[in-house]
Structure formats: C-alpha cells, structure tokens
Symmetry: C2
Subunit: 422 residues, 2 copies
C-alpha cells in the first residue's frame, strides 16, 4: 500500500472535475485505488507517501482506436480521403508486417510513443499477421501497459498481399487469445477491418468467434459518405451500416467499439444505444481525411457510450490530450453549424471521455474512485504555470499548450511505467 500526494484532478461524472489540492491517493498492493483524501486518514499514517509537490496528478489517457502498423506513415500522406488513402498509403505499409523484424522495429516505437504521450491502455488494430500481432501483445506486456490487440480480418477489396482467409483470421485471433491468456493487462479483440473489407463469410465467422468466446469487437462505422454508400451496395439487406455488423453478431452482442460514427443518426444511433456500442470519436483523423464531425453531444444525450481515439496514422499524433482539444473544437464547429441548438462540450466532459468513459472498456479504469485501477499521470507544469493559475486552468493550459515534456511519471495498474525500449 502506498499514497501519492499532489494536486489531484479526475472526473467521476462528466459534469465537473473533482479537484483535491495537495491531496492524497491511496493505492493498494493490487494496483487499485483505495481512496482519495484531502488529508491522510489516520489508518494510513504509517504507509509510504510519495510527494509530487505542486505537480498535477490525473488519470492516464485511454486510446480506444489506433492502428499500430501505420506508425511509419504518421504525418505524411494526408492528401486523400478514406478509400483512396487506404489503397495508396495504408495497405502497402501494413503488408510489410509479414516481416517480423520490420514489425518489431516499428511496434517498439509504437509502444514507446503511446507511453511517451501518456496513454496507458489502448484498443489496437494490428494486421492480418499472427506472429507480428502476438509480438505487439508481448511488447505491451514488456512495457507494463494495458490494452487489446486485434488481428485484422480482411478478405475482399483488399490487396493480395494484405488479405487473409476466413480460417486464417479465425485461427490467428484464437492464437492471439491463447497468447494473451497469461498476460495480465493485455487481451485479444475480434477485429473485422470494416464491412467493405470483409465477405459475409468473414463477418459470420468473426461474429461466431466473438459470441462463442465472449470476446470484444472493434471495427469502423460510418466514417465517410462514400464508404456508407459502398456498404449499402455490399450489404443490401442491412437497414443501415451498423445493422450490417449487428446481423453478424458484431454490434454489441459482446462489448463493441466502433470508430468514427461521423454520419450516425436515427436508426444506427438507436441501435448503438440499445446494444451499448461505443462510438469512438477520432476528431484529428476526421479532420485530416476530411471525413466530417461526429455528433458527440447527440450520442451523449442519447446514452450511447463514447470514447476517444487517436486513429494513428490518419490521426496525426498519439496525444489523447490533443484529441481532447480537437473534441472541444469540433463540438464547437458542430454547434455553430447546427445553429447553436446543441451545447458544445465542456472541458470536464471531454476529459471524462478520455479517462473514465474510454477506460470503462478495460474495466474499472480512468478514475480515482475506490476500486479503480491506478492508471495515472504526473504533470510538472511549472513552465506553463508561470503566474499561479488555479488548478483547473493549469490542467486546461496543459491540454492546450503542453506535451510529453511535462509528463514526469506514468502509472498503469499501480506500477510506475518507465520508457519502453525502442
């Protein structure tokens, strides 16, 4: 058992920050929070206290949508929208991960950069390659970080050198399930790339797999209007894009993440609400590819769960703090485009999406309430706090102006995580 002392911020609810200046978080030997306190209760007087002085202490970031094998393409190739972008830049890069040496070189950097920007847990798309996908799980475990890794199923409209058969996708996923069974914080997730890349046979098999083994699911949904039109042609019996997943058992029958949802409305939204399907908001990516703006306020009002994703490499960086910033900005752009009818998001709401809401996909993660995993960041913002700002303004300035330089300590499930070896 141990206590950490600092200026504590977290969001038990989206509406407001819980702030404890120079407060204490007591963490048990299991890595879970016992409680937060303004002064240390007498029963803890004898435990070790780590004092972070005037620094900020907050829940770590959770990235609920990121493509590890697009690491090398970060910051380039931003001149196309989704479908040509996939064919021209993304698929050729992902095909390289057949080579395990190449995969290791890039995946080490990927894990390092997640760490560097303060993300302690992520839901990750790997590639079709089982060996490289298991390696990625190992590298997360080696780092001490948490997450879900998906071996991607894709067997139509995909290049020959980046396609798998239904059997390969099922076997590869099961290999990953087995491989991660002994890893404490890492697990497998069923990952059909998206409807246009998957035949009905692939979707059927992956849906069976998810339901048979009670595995979570991740994919893409309603990112772009050409994609939606294409899905209509490919799956004419489905009443909407989301319904195409639902018919195969891939839409909330087990815990499900759907990235983007820029054009989700009405029926699809209602289906997500009923099935508790997460909308993973990826605003940096949506701006870079000119996809559109997801209706986050509408999701939140309707009770559709929402999380944030970097969507590297269509998203142009790993920082979920940056994604919070874009979430706020894009909610304002939606607000102005919609004639000011739906309120834009507040700072505490966007922070909550990145922490407690996104973290909930991994269990009790993303808050400092009792029983939550102690996933945490310590921020030395003394360079930004040159004029004695109040604590919430210090967090806001860190989000808008800070970067990895201010992150002094990172914790995942109670353990301090040092820089993963590149």
């Amino acid at each position: 058992m141990r206590a950490y002392r600092a200026n504590i911020l977290f969001t038990p609810t989206p509406q407001r920050f819980e702030i404890i200046e120079h407060g204490f978080v007591v963490v048990g030997n299991d890595g879970n929070v016992i409680g937060t306190y303004a002064s240390l209760p007498s029963e803890y007087k004898t435990i070790d206290v780590v004092d972070f002085g005037n620094q900020l202490l907050m829940p770590a970031m959770n990235d609920l949508h990121v493509h590890a094998p697009q690491y090398r393409n970060l910051g380039i190739a931003m001149d196309m929208e989704l479908l040509p972008w996939l064919n021209t830049y993304t698929f050729p890069e992902e095909a390289k991960y057949k080579d395990i040496k190449y995969a290791e070189r890039m995946y080490r950097r990927f894990v390092h950069d997640l760490w560097k920007l303060g993300t302690m847990r992520a839901a990750i798309f790997a590639t079709i390659h089982p060996e490289a996908s298991c390696l990625l799980a190992d590298l997360l475990r080696e780092a001490g970080m948490g997450g879900m890794v998906g071996l991607v199923g894709m067997d139509r409209n995909s290049p020959n050198n980046l396609s798998n058969s239904v059997q390969e996708a099922v076997d590869g996923t099961l290999r990953l399930v087995e491989h991660t069974a002994s890893l404490p914080l890492v697990s497998a997730i069923v990952t059909p790339r998206f409807v246009p890349s998957c035949t009905p046979e692939m979707l059927t098999a992956l849906g069976k797999l998810a339901n048979g083994y009670r595995l979570p699911v991740q994919s893409h949904l309603s990112e772009n209007q050409s994609e939606i039109e294409w899905v209509k042609e490919l799956e004419p019996k489905s009443t909407c894009y989301g319904d195409a997943y639902r018919r195969y058992g891939l839409f909330g029958q087990t815990p499900t993440l759907m990235a983007h949802c820029c054009y989700t409305a009405d029926e699809e939204l209602e289906l997500m609400r009923q099935n508790h399907v997460f909308a993973v908001h990826c605003p940096t990516s949506n701006c870079n590819l000119g996809s559109g703006i997801a209706p986050i306020r509408r999701f939140m009002n309707a009770g559709v769960p929402v999380a944030l994703g970097s969507d590297v490499s269509a998203g142009s960086g790993f920082s979920i703090f940056r994604v919070i910033h874009y979430t706020l900005q894009m909610s304002k752009m939606k607000w102005v485009a919609g004639g000011h009818k739906e309120a834009f998001l507040s700072l505490s709401e966007a922070f909550w999406l990145a922490t407690k809401s996104g973290g909930s996909f991994f269990g009790k993660v993303g808050s400092f309430e009792s029983g939550y995993a102690f996933d945490a960041l310590v921020v030395d913002d003394s360079d930004l706090n040159f004029d004695n700002y109040p604590i919430q303004h210090r967090l806001e300035r860190y989000i808008y102006l800070g970067d990895d330089r201010q992150l002094t300590h990172r914790f995942c499930q109670g353990k301090e995580i040092s820089a993963p070896r590149i």
Copy 2:
C-alpha cells in the same frame, strides 16, 4: 557575405516546393538572399560556409494576426464564442496593460514565445496604452525580430477601463510611429479593434491617419454571425461589414490585414480583391471560439491575398506550423461540407501562405529567392526522420509531429536570433 548549407525548402509559388538537397543559400551583408544553389558557384568559393549537415533549412514563419496582451489567457477561457469571450476574459486582461511593469513581464514572454516557435515577423495588436505599445516595439527590436505593432483604438462597447478617446488613439499611434521610426524591422500599424468597438468618429480619424501617413491597417472582419448582425445595426449605410471599413478609408486604401473573414462572400470578397485586402486566416482560433471556417480556396481562386495568423489567445498557441496543419484540416472540412466542389489545400499551398504570402506584407520576406530577406529556420528532425524519409515528407512530419525542440537556429534579416530574455 556568407553561405548556409542544408536541405533547403521554400515555395516561390504555391503549387510546389523548391527543394535543394544539401544545397546552399548565399546571403549578402544586408541580410538579403543573393541566391540558392545546388553547388556553390566559383565566385563564392572563398566565402564562409556554415554547414548544417542533414538538417532542413526553410523560410521562417510569419504571424499576421496576434494579440500580445492576451498572453496570460493562452489555453484558458475557451467556453464562449467571440462577443461574450471578449467581455468576460479578454477586455479585463488587456486593461492590466496600463501597468507598464505588468506589460513588460508579459510582453517579454510573448516575444520569447514567438521566437521559440519560429515566428520571426508578426502583425501585432497591442492595447490602448501608448507606453506599453512602445515597449513591445522595443522588445521586438531588442530581440532582432520584425513586425508591426498596433495601438488599439476602441471607444464604444468597451469597458471604461479599456477605452480611449479618438484623440488618444491618434496621438498614441503617432507616438508609436515616431518611436519606431529608427527601428529597422519594427513599425506601427493603424489598429481599430473592430467596427463594434469604434465610433464613426474613431473610424474616420484612424482612416485619415492611415491615409495621411501612408500607414498600414489591421482589424477584424466577419468572424462570427452575431458580430456581422451587430455591424449591420451599427453601420446601416454600409452594404457589408467590409464596406464599413472602406467608407472610412480603412480597407485597402493602404495595405490592410483583415483577420478571420469566416463569412466573407460575394460583395465583400470582391471588395477585398479590388483593394488587395489580406484575409488573415486564423483556423485554430476559429475552432476554439466556434466561429466557422474561412473560404480560403475561394479567396485564393479570386486573387484575394491570404496570410496565416495564430490569433493568440483565441488561438491556443504560437506555432504557425500548427496553424498550417489546421489550415489543411479546415480546408478539408470545408471541402467535405461543400460536396467536394472546391479542392482542399495542398501542403505547399499552406506553407506558401505562412511564408511568402504572409511575408509579403513586410516586404520581400518569406522566400529564398534573390533579394528576399534571409528569415530562416534550421530544423534538426533526426528524431522524426528515423527511417530516411524524402525531404518533403520530412517537412510534412515536422509540421504534423514536431515542435520547438527541433528548431536549432532562427534567422531574421540575415542575423541569427538568440532566445530573447524573459
């Protein structure tokens, strides 16, 4: 005379980068570029060569719209749109600049941060206070950086402690003109805050001042729809917001910068084209305040000059590289919202806006063509260039992923600029 060797990138035209790998820029003793060369011509064989190895060498950034006295508010107070934001957060902060000690403390940080992010010239709004405005000009000179400083005129709809009389605005501006007469790279610019803040008498007097002394002008235009409605009420004889400035001699009769122009169309756009009025694009600010997206492609097609601005503190940082990133993203959002009719901007176009197009307001600035001021940045991107990217991808990755850490040298008018004292 001296030569600099590095990987050179610049944009003589918006359409494409001029790239010279391991090339030379020869700079005269006046600080202007003599020429760029793949190998050093024989007549320069004896001059000093500074070799920057494998680093990138590019024109420095120009910030054509920034509010120095909003420095302290950076990264906070993002929960309102323009008009309440001004009254609640901005005006109270600017009023503090009556205190010259406070002004010096903040303005030193402001100049330092411009420098830090690679901006060597800026068009700056100060406040109504002559002493602080002259100090800001002195601090730019002390740093060796260039720019224009505007003493702000505001005499209606402004708080009592942040208003000046017409006479005070005229006298203050003239004091700044005189004060900057001997400063090589710094000058004064006539600065009515915006129509809602200025009585017809103020606008008349500032128009006369601009035309009488041939001074440039900067202000705000069509940022927000409530603001536009308000201007219609305040200036019922004007056919559009831009026409309100034009009637007072403040719209291109002398070189003019108009920030934002989110809702500029038709008549106003034609007026800007005819009068060669710059649209200063401030996309980070427009996202933070939920203002809207300026029609940059339409301006460029019509021949309206365009520059980029950080608009600190509605813009949430000093980096014009970041503004380039947002310029690209917002042009894609405009492209998708408009049914893909107007092409989004290319990287070279956005870079050109930040360098040669914006720089042209200061003279021959923003390119490495012969006769241009050697305003330059040296970028050591070795951490980002871990896998031998081509030169243009290296620049693109720097724009998307880099920050001040990669900037190793900064030059303004041929002189290396070291960190300004805070």
